[in-house]
Symmetry: C2
């Protein structure tokens, strides 16, 4: 049998950068910490890994708690293990980023958790190393969205190309040429036009698209 008992054990936490696309821009869910250390400071959502729970399952449990959502798109990014990174006790933290459809977010939970959505381009000061984590996640999301159909998890089932473009512009924080953008989308076989028209966001009406 194994004998690992000469080695120390550590608290392990999961931190999640929850991205949502709201009012034309990419936002991140943060909340005010209700406990020390960092009491009252703004923080990513997170929690501790429990016994008999894989780190992925742990992330899902924490997300359920903070968003009310059961199945979300999650991707592990990195692990932070500096000895002093949490000023309370030593905690090794595993970072995930998470994509959710804000229409399904349970707004009641904002009050319970003192949570709010903030624009990814104007993130306030967060506790510990959390600002660094957000930048890392945004870079990674940018690389992924060029190549994988993950915008699906941020958008409603049907969306206009202007919405999709606003999402990309928000992630890269830069304007994109409309014609080039539409061509690049037309080349992706996982995004399809429907025969529905959205009349809410323009007078003329815009074709609604969907994934797959």
């Amino acid at each position: 049998m194994s004998n690992y008992s000469s080695h120390p054990q550590f608290f392990v936490s999961v931190d999640c950068i929850v991205f949502g696309f709201n009012k034309g821009s990419l936002q991140v869910l943060i909340h005010q910490r209700p406990y020390s250390p960092g009491f009252g400071e703004m923080s990513l959502i997170g929690g501790f890994v429990e016994k008999e729970e894989s780190i992925d399952i742990s992330a899902r449990r924490i997300l359920k708690e903070f968003t009310g959502l059961d199945s979300v798109y999650m991707k592990q990014l990195a692990t932070f293990g500096e000895v002093e990174r949490d000023p309370g006790e030593r905690v090794i933290s595993i970072l995930y980023y998470v994509l959710i459809n804000v229409d399904k977010y349970d707004n009641n939970l904002s009050e319970i958790h003192n949570a709010k959505w903030v624009d990814v381009n104007t993130i306030p000061n967060l506790c510990f190393d959390h600002n660094k984590m957000v930048e890392m996640a945004r870079t990674s999301l940018g690389a992924a969205i060029k190549v994988e159909p993950i915008a699906k998890y941020l958008l409603p089932k049907y969306f206009t190309l202007s919405h999709l473009q606003a999402l990309h512009e928000s992630i890269f924080n830069t304007p994109i040429d409309k014609r080039n953008f539409r061509r690049s989308i037309a080349e992706k076989d996982y995004i399809k036009a429907t025969d529905m028209i959205d009349k809410d966001s323009s007078k003329r009406g815009a074709t609604l698209y969907t994934f797959d």
Copy 2:
């Protein structure tokens, strides 16, 4: 003060995929496990994170133990936290890949640790999820080497373009056109020709190049 004590603690280990470039191909350092679980099976090198030691420092300590080298190029890749991944006890493992110059590797350590170098394209069965880890590392190394001057850490100070090409071919496990390869290298400003000639690997002699 913090009160984390209601949460469980875990063993945390570091696993390292040590890459070296030897005899024209990319190799990985593995060793035979001298303890259970997995006794006698081949394994990546690794060890436990200790108290007051950041995970990066932990990786450096373990590398020193297995290679004799103090400063190596290291990159954190991912963390594995399935409950049953280690059949002994639950261990959360943080994966790094590491690039070393095999000329500086202390060969005496191979005997002490039952270690050996194996070609990245013919890795034997390794214990636990270690084969999966190697594939992940190779993919990540491939993406990085196209863009960053990290071949520096695998090669001697002076090298021929044929050596560098062999390294790329080994990483991608595919032949590369010599003229196209040389053009792409000429465009990188961090690789420079010297006025030295290598007479060892060809009769005619080949220009030696170096990083920066």
